[in-house]
């Protein structure tokens, strides 16, 4: 996934493991920033939903990580990176309904195996790269300009 355009903006949001009280703050900030940049509301919404699901995944499953927001004239790119534990079977993790989340997480309305599929649903381009013991990077791209337009 390469991008030749100069970034208009690049921001990082730290996400702490099991910090459920703060979960969603990064996604809210992503939406605010995109609005301030004048991004169309339906695109900002898609990016914010992807960011929220990615943020919840970091809070629920990871040892902690960060979400990097990058915006240029053509696309919004979100990269959620963590330092582990990694996903043994990403194909299985992408299946709707598959989840390893706890009952505590389910009581908050998450953990039903919809997180990664929702990120993909909101994205024009989606990648997941994970190595057990090293970590996971999920990249979601929302195009701003349609090709040829």
């Amino acid at each position: 996934m390469t991008c030749t355009d100069e970034p208009v903006l690049e921001m990082e949001f730290a996400v702490a493991r099991h910090d459920f009280a703060a979960a969603g703050e990064a996604a809210s900030r992503v939406k605010q920033v995109l609005r301030q940049l004048g991004i169309a509301s339906h695109l900002a919404r898609r990016a914010a939903v992807a960011a929220y699901e990615a943020e919840m995944n970091l809070v629920i499953h990871s040892h902690g990580g960060k979400i990097v927001l990058r915006v240029d004239s053509e696309r919004i790119t979100l990269a959620a990176r963590d330092s582990g534990p990694g996903i043994p079977d990403t194909e299985l993790a992408m299946r709707e309904g598959y989840s390893t989340a706890s009952d505590e997480v389910r009581e908050m309305g998450f953990g039903a195996g919809m997180g990664l599929p929702n990120i993909r649903r909101c994205s024009d381009c989606f990648e997941i790269d994970s190595t057990v013991g090293r970590g996971t990077t999920v990249t979601a791209v929302v195009n701003i300009a349609r090709p040829g337009s």
Partner: protein, 142 residues
């Protein structure tokens, strides 16, 4: 069964219809029109399938419900079956400007009352949108 034609209902009228207390967003009672609503306890479903400006009815009272509403651009939240959110949820809703209502009616009955009053559903809206710019998830895709 043919789908009803959705019509806007003011938030204050929604509160009366389901005998709801207003916990947050009193200033929007007479100005906010609601055309669609959805009932869900799974926030990932809300994020995936609810359109913007939809009213969410839910039995969950966690801060994540308010965050989901903000991120998805929902018009407000109704807590059903007597659920009362904590101070942290109320403060977050005030900060983000999300109206909160609370009713003792259970989910099925609260949704039924609103549907009978003319509030449409997200599936109904997606059928209306089909052929224009939206898809079933309410998202516009290139």
């Amino acid at each position: 069964m043919p789908l009803m034609e959705a019509k806007p209902v003011k938030l204050e009228d929604i509160a009366k219809l389901i005998d709801a207390d207003v916990l947050s967003g009193e200033d929007k009672l007479s100005t906010l029109d609601v055309c669609t609503a959805c009932g869900a306890d799974l926030m990932s479903d809300v994020l995936a399938f609810c359109h913007e400006r939809t009213l969410l009815l839910t039995g969950l009272a966690s801060p994540q419900v308010v965050r989901s509403a903000e991120v998805a651009g929902l018009s407000g939240i109704v807590f059903v079956r007597g659920k009362k959110p904590g101070e942290d949820v109320l403060e977050l809703a005030e900060m983000l400007g999300i109206p909160l209502l609370a009713t003792d009616f259970p989910m099925f009955e609260a949704c039924g009352m609103l549907y009978a009053a003319g509030i449409g559903g997200t599936y109904q809206l997606s059928q209306t949108d089909r052929g224009s710019t939206g898809n079933a998830s309410g998202e516009t895709r290139p």
